[in-house]
């Protein structure tokens, strides 16, 4: 039944967000610490486990897949409720700071991807990865 999939997704989401909330409380951060990420990992693990045991039928999977497919419209709705006015009227300093942060991020993607590639091609990763990663992060700092 489709509701089994939706329920599985709900349980994973609630558990993950709850763990994230508790982690935040423990560390003393007023934010959810990776709740969505933890929930995703729970869903991935639960999904693989159930598939292996042949406990997931197509209907159940459809319950999860519907929400995965409705994701883009949800993101569009999210875009429509952003405070775009606030961003544009924030003044030149806020706008420049935002632009600069984004440019730095974009530029670093290919740099870090290279580190990732080294890692997968190397079998003795522990040693080889430590060196490039520490040098790049210290040079940025």
């Amino acid at each position: 039944m489709i509701i089994y999939g939706v329920a599985l997704l709900s349980v994973c989401t609630l558990t993950g967000i709850a763990i994230g909330q508790m982690l935040g409380k423990l560390i003393g951060v007023p934010a959810n610490v990776g709740g969505v990420g933890i929930a995703m990992i729970l869903l991935i693990l639960a999904g693989t486990y159930l598939k292996k045991r042949d406990l997931l039928n197509i209907k159940t999977e459809q319950g999860v897949e519907f929400w995965s497919a409705i994701y883009i419209p949800i993101v569009v709705a999210m875009a429509a409720k952003q405070n775009v006015m606030g961003a544009l009227t924030g003044g030149p300093m806020a706008i420049t700071a935002g632009i600069f942060a984004v440019v730095c991020g974009f530029l670093l993607v290919p740099v870090l991807s290279r580190i990732g590639n080294d890692e997968s091609s190397e079998t003795t990763k522990a040693v080889s990865v430590e060196t490039p990663s520490t040098t790049t992060s210290s040079s940025v700092r």
Binding site: S68, A80, I95, C104
Partner: protein, 254 residues
């Protein structure tokens, strides 16, 4: 006439949201096919249209929630709110390949730290250029360039003025919106076309709404990988902002 419409849209706000967003999606995909021959992805156009609607909402109502401030369209707020957003993001994880995730794991963690440091430094250097010299303001504006949540959280913790906090939120908003708009166009140039670079991208950019929308407009298959790392970014930023980053700044600009 308007009164009765308002009653319907109030009672069935979420349904109204589905209808309006569905129409927006259809229009965007039509524009994408008709005028760009599919080169600009339909979802990228839809997101830009959404942001434009948000801008109009801000202009006409003076509110902070974009188009949602129009009572007729409040249902979009439920559809695009954090509950359904997180629910749908988690759902995208269903198609994730664990092995690919493991392979990108370490690079993702490095990306998280580098993303926070690089955004912070970017924010601080711009603040310096605009004449701020005290450690509290510099840290708050730098933290705002991390995300618009880290900015005010850090500012409140270290006692920044409300004016500086507003600036830091605005910097974070600009970042988030730029990531939404620019990602699909920049993606080919930075090699953002596989799960590993998506994990890294999520860690570097961090702004969850920006990453979610940017990757959705680039390639929906990449969404779970980027969102997974981005999920840890704001929390790590909130952790580092008022502590390590502030201490570093105080050491340099006391």
């Amino acid at each position: 006439m308007y009164e009765s419409l308002l009653v319907v849209s109030n009672k069935y706000s979420l349904v109204m949201g589905f209808a309006v967003i569905g129409l927006t999606m259809w229009l965007s995909y039509w524009v994408s096919g008709r005028f760009t021959k599919g080169r600009v992805h339909g979802s990228a156009i839809a997101i830009m249209l959404g942001l434009f609607l948000a801008y109009l909402g801000g202009v006409f109502t003076g509110g902070e929630k974009g188009i949602v401030d129009l009572p007729l369209l409040s249902g979009i707020g439920i559809l695009g709110g954090s509950m359904l957003r997180d629910f749908a993001i988690v759902a995208t994880g269903f198609g994730v390949d664990i092995d690919e995730l493991k392979r990108a794991g370490k690079a993702g963690v490095i990306a998280l730290f580098m993303g926070i440091f690089s955004s912070f430094i970017a924010g601080v250097s711009i603040a310096l250029a605009f004449g701020y010299t005290d450690a509290v303001s510099l840290t708050t504006i730098g933290a705002g360039a991390v995300t618009y949540i880290v900015g005010p959280v850090t500012g409140a913790a270290i006692g920044a003025s409300s004016e500086v906090m507003a600036l830091s939120i605005a910097a974070g908003l600009v970042k988030s919106i730029l990531v939404m708009i620019l990602t699909p166009f920049v993606a080919p140039y930075i090699g953002l076309n596989n799960s590993r670079s998506a994990v890294i991208f999520g860690g570097l950019m961090g702004t969850s709404s920006g990453v979610a929308a940017g990757l959705a407009a680039t390639d929906p298959k990449l969404v779970p990988y980027g969102c997974l790392t981005a999920a840890f970014y704001t929390a790590l930023g909130c952790l580092l902002g008022p502590s390590l980053l502030f201490i570093l700044m105080r050491g340099m600009f006391a």
